[in-house]
């Protein structure tokens, strides 16, 4: 099913009764991710009255529209024309992106599956910490739970599968790994990803004017810190994280 020939992309599909998905690949790639972000931006700028909401996933742009206001054929035609408008794979990343450095504990009690994940990746635990904590990864999409980033790509050695059985509950702020990606959980959740580190970074702040902290395109480094520092940073919603605009 996997198919890397960009000439065959994007593909348009209906998503449920009132959605379309414009996909730029069926596996994650840098180009497909950029294309999805840029295409969503273009759909937003087109300001079609029937369109009610847009979002991106790893390699696709999704839009929800009102089929009673504009029929599926007309919506498909408008999307196909926009898709043919340019080479989306070579699009620039969004403006105003930020680089975040997020203090992360990789010590035993805070990283219950680090040893196991390192082994799956063919690394010793210190090598695994060095690899993860120095990797500058990009937010490829926000999804699943509010403000939750999927970050990548990690070196190929991290192409490890998700677990077959789920962890009962990984805590909020937990850093988890699988398939060359990291995820960071905004709320405690069951997951098949392995829990390899812990942050005090609050990704979703419903009481705030800026409830969502990370945006697609932002870059993040999960720098190693000590359990003591982590404990001290519990009351700081940023958990000691600092950011700067990427120029």
């Amino acid at each position: 099913m996997l198919d890397n020939d960009t000439a065959k992309w994007p593909k348009l599909k209906t998503a449920g009764y009132d959605g379309f998905l414009v996909s730029f690949g069926d596996q994650l790639s840098e180009g497909a991710n950029r294309a999805a972000l840029a295409f969503r931006n273009a759909v937003d700028r087109a300001n079609w009255p029937a369109v009610q909401e847009t979002s991106t996933s790893l390699v696709s742009t999704y839009l929800r529209f009102d089929p009673l206001a504009l029929d599926h054929n007309a919506m498909r035609k408008a999307l196909a024309e926009l898709a043919a408008d340019r080479d989306w794979f070579s699009a620039e990343l969004p403006q105003g992106r930020r680089f975040w450095r997020v203090p992360t504990v990789y010590a035993a009690d805070f990283a219950p599956q680090l040893d196991e994940a390192a082994k799956a990746a063919g690394l010793t635990t210190p090598e695994a910490i060095a690899s993860i904590s120095t990797a500058r990864v990009r937010v490829q999409t926000i999804g699943f739970a509010p403000g939750m980033p999927y970050l990548g790509e990690l070196p190929d050695t991290w192409n490890i599968p998700r677990q077959k059985t789920l962890n009962a509950q990984t805590p909020a702020g937990g850093l988890c790994v699988a398939i060359r990606q990291l995820v960071l959980f905004p709320v405690a959740t069951p997951t098949g990803w392995r829990h390899i580190g812990q942050t005090a970074f609050r990704l979703f702040r419903p009481e705030s004017d800026q409830p969502f902290v990370l945006r697609p395109g932002d870059e993040v480094m999960f720098e190693q810190t000590t359990p003591e520092t982590y404990t001290r940073m519990q009351d700081d919603p940023d958990g000691g994280a600092v950011s700067e605009i990427i120029r």
């Binding site: 099913m1 996997l2 599909k13 209906t14 998503a15 449920g16 009764y17 009132d18 959605g19 998905l21 069926d26 596996q27 994650l28 969503r40 009610q52 909401e53 847009t54 979002s55 991106t56 996933s57 790893l58 390699v59 696709s60 999704y62 929800r64 089929p67 009673l68 029929d71 599926h72 999409t141 926000i142 999804g143 699943f144 739970a145 509010p146 403000g147 939750m148 999927y150 905004p186 709320v187 979703f204 419903p206 009481e207 409830p211 969502f212 697609p216």
Partner: protein, 342 residues
């Protein structure tokens, strides 16, 4: 204090719900909102008010409430036993809740989610543009005893109205359209899916419900390698063991399991209201058919106010029947002569 409703006792999951908060899908936050949107529309039609006003959604069990002043209420969604100071109330109807009187709402008789709409609507704090609690996201919470719900001004006064609710509380057949990964399932699996009877599992909440097939689960080889992709309410996601989940208003926003189809928005209340053990079946519709069905339903919903009629109370429901003057205007012959009965 201004107009309010006081919670004297709360069932385990009563939340403030409106039509949800669209626009945050890109940030991983699903729309949320009432599990049975139609019940909000029916409540608003009964009270002749805006359907965007927030109401109480009661999962499985109601509670006890007290009014700060005379106020109008409407009861819709899953029928529950309800009374004011012991006098039974008809469901799918509007009533007057007098100041200080105790409104008691018990367990659902059928269905899952009952709704209490208040004249003027609940006027609580908005977060991200809506009052809806989104429990999965940690926005808002279930109500407890002692909570005070501020209410908006009520421009109307009419009560004692009823509406015939669309039957949707006992499971049944829902229409689905093909979606992102439908083609990953062999035509024979699709046909078997349509022919299969499902039982709504005990595992279910505002995020989604698990539906257990009679017979084997559903499988697709290709589906195992799909990337995580957008999820919307109504999607029927087939998990690793072949058991489908139907996603509801508070669902996650992405998922890696293949979707066999997506339930029409108009049929989603039927899924949300099916209680554990209820039977559900799925029938594929083309997009053209779906649009025609949704168009007809949108027109019906728009005209709901026209379906509201005066409530004629059943004599059996009137506890103090004998205290009513049943034959208005009847007199003993002699008082026509001007003899007062004193």
């Amino acid at each position: 204090m201004n107009r309010h409703l006081k919670v004297l006792r709360a069932g385990p999951s009563i939340t403030v719900q409106d039509q949800g908060r669209p626009g945050y899908l890109a940030f991983g936050l699903s729309r949320g909102g009432a599990a049975d949107i139609l019940a909000l529309l029916e409540g608003a039609a009964l009270l002749c008010q805006d359907a965007r006003l927030a109401a109480l959604e009661m999962a499985g069990m109601g509670g006890e409430f007290e009014a700060s002043e005379d106020m109008r209420i409407a009861l819709t969604g899953a029928p529950m036993r309800a009374s004011i100071e012991g006098a039974g109330l008809q469901w799918n109807a509007s009533h007057l809740l007098p100041k200080g009187a105790r409104l008691s709402i018990g367990a659902a008789i059928s269905g899952c989610y009952g709704y209490l709409t208040l004249g003027g609507g609940i006027d609580g704090p908005e977060r991200l543009g809506a009052q809806s609690a989104h429990l999965a996201a940690g926005i808002g919470r279930s109500l407890h005893e002692g909570d005070i719900l501020p209410l908006g001004a009520d421009a109307h006064s009419e009560v004692g109205q009823k509406i015939d609710a669309l039957p949707r509380f006992e499971g049944g057949t829902v229409r689905i359209v093909p979606s992102l990964q439908t083609e990953f399932f062999a035509p024979s699996e699709i046909a078997r899916f349509e022919a299969t009877q499902f039982k709504r599992d005990t595992r279910g909440n505002r995020m989604g419900v698990r539906i257990v097939p009679e017979g084997d689960g559903f499988h697709t080889e290709a589906g195992l390698s799909v990337l995580s992709e957008v999820i919307v309410p109504g999607d029927v996601q087939v998990t690793g063991d072949g058991t489908p989940f139907v996603l509801l208003s508070e669902c996650q926003t992405t998922g890696g399991y293949p979707r066999i189809g997506s339930v029409l928005p108009m049929d989603l209340p039927r899924v949300a209201q099916a209680r554990a053990g209820a039977t559900l079946r799925f029938e594929f519709a083309t997009l053209e058919e779906a649009v025609a069905l949704e168009r007809r339903e949108a027109a019906r919903r728009k005209a709901l106010r026209g379906d509201v009629r005066p409530l004629i109370r059943s004599p059996h429901a009137i506890a103090n029947l004998l205290s009513y003057q049943l034959i208005s205007g009847a007199t003993a012959g002699y008082d026509l002569e001007g003899n007062d009965n004193d």
